[in-house]
């Protein structure tokens, strides 16, 4: 199977280049990550992040034939050859397919991604009704792979100011949580022309999410909560 992979080692290369590979697959190779690891066995200088190899850790996010996705859950049979692999767009490249995710996680931390509730915890657990728990479906599953945020033009232009789809989805995850007491502070924190309103509903985020989540919808619900609060 033919591949064209983005290579850049800042210690050796003046500028990035694309390297072609032709690798023979074994019968058990199902996912893109399997093929990349075959290539890595031939050329150990190729660098990438990977860990769980089943779409749970979110390490191997990359740009696959122009669309962001997780290599470990992208079936090889759906890919057109040569498969063009590039690092996630918009973030500084550390080496080959590895990007510096500091900016992404800084935005994630800025939304306080943890439960805020000053009431003393009950003896067992903070209870929710089944309906209230239902609201968290489609929000809590995010693995923070950054596929969505790095496919978002608004995040490309203002990664330091716009929170980005991944972190906004997580922001709504806590706004929607009936056990959280800081809803109003969370909305205050986001009510900003850059932090939230750089989202122009482009919907690349929902298009690429490897977990099938919809950050655009969550962002819409954050705006709805703000309107409810205002009128």
């Amino acid at each position: 199977m033919k591949f064209s992979i983005y290579r850049y080692n800042p210690e050796k290369d003046d500028k990035p280049y694309m390297q072609d590979y032709d690798v023979e697959l074994q019968p058990g190779d199902r996912m893109l990550l399997d093929a990349i690891l075959r290539i890595k066995a031939l050329d150990d200088s190729l660098s990438l992040r990977k860990s769980c190899r089943e779409g749970v850790c979110g390490s191997d996010g990359m740009n696959i034939n122009g669309k962001n996705g997780l290599a470990c859950i992208t079936p090889l049979k759906d890919l057109e050859e040569p498969v063009v692999l590039r690092p996630l767009p918009g973030l500084p490249v550390i080496r080959d397919l590895i990007v510096d995710m500091s900016q992404f996680f800084k935005q994630y931390h800025s939304i306080k991604p943890y439960l805020i509730n000053d009431n003393p915890p009950p003896q067992k657990e903070r209870l929710q009704s089944p309906e209230a728990r239902e609201e968290l479906n489609g929000l809590y599953e995010c693995v923070l792979c950054a596929c969505c945020s790095t496919s978002c033009p608004s995040f490309w232009w203002n990664p330091d100011k716009f929170v980005g789809p991944a972190a906004l989805l997580q922001a709504y995850r806590f706004i929607a949580d009936t056990r959280d007491d800081a809803t109003s502070e969370r909305l205050d924190n986001l009510e900003d022309p850059y932090r939230l309103f750089r989202c122009h509903t482009i919907m690349n985020c929902a298009d690429v999410c490897p977990k099938g989540l919809n950050p655009t919808e969550a962002i819409g619900k954050i705006k709805e909560q703000m309107v409810r609060r205002m009128v």
Binding site: D160, E191, V227
Partner: protein, 115 residues
Amino acid sequence: MVNRVVVGAHYGLRDWLLQRITAIVMALYTLAFVAFVLAATPASYEDWRTAFAHPAVKISTFLFLMSVFFHAWVGVRDIFMDYVKPFALRLFLQVLVILALIVYALWAVQLLWSV
């Protein structure tokens, strides 16, 4: 001064809402306008003049134009915020657009109420 990243202006919701509402106003006016042209088939200058002499037409057209201006303001400012990075240039362009829109609004009043 150290160039730090500052966010937290705490506005944006009103503008976002305004853009949605003005879009509805523009869509309704456009439909009504097309319906008027199809139904009344104004052909001459006099037909148009009679139509626009009616206060309801004047006011609805003015509402439409104001919607265009507010909608344009939010949209153009968004473009500046996305693409124009130097702060001084962004401020200058935004002020320029506001002044132009005020001129357009006054001009619209003059045109509509001159009929």
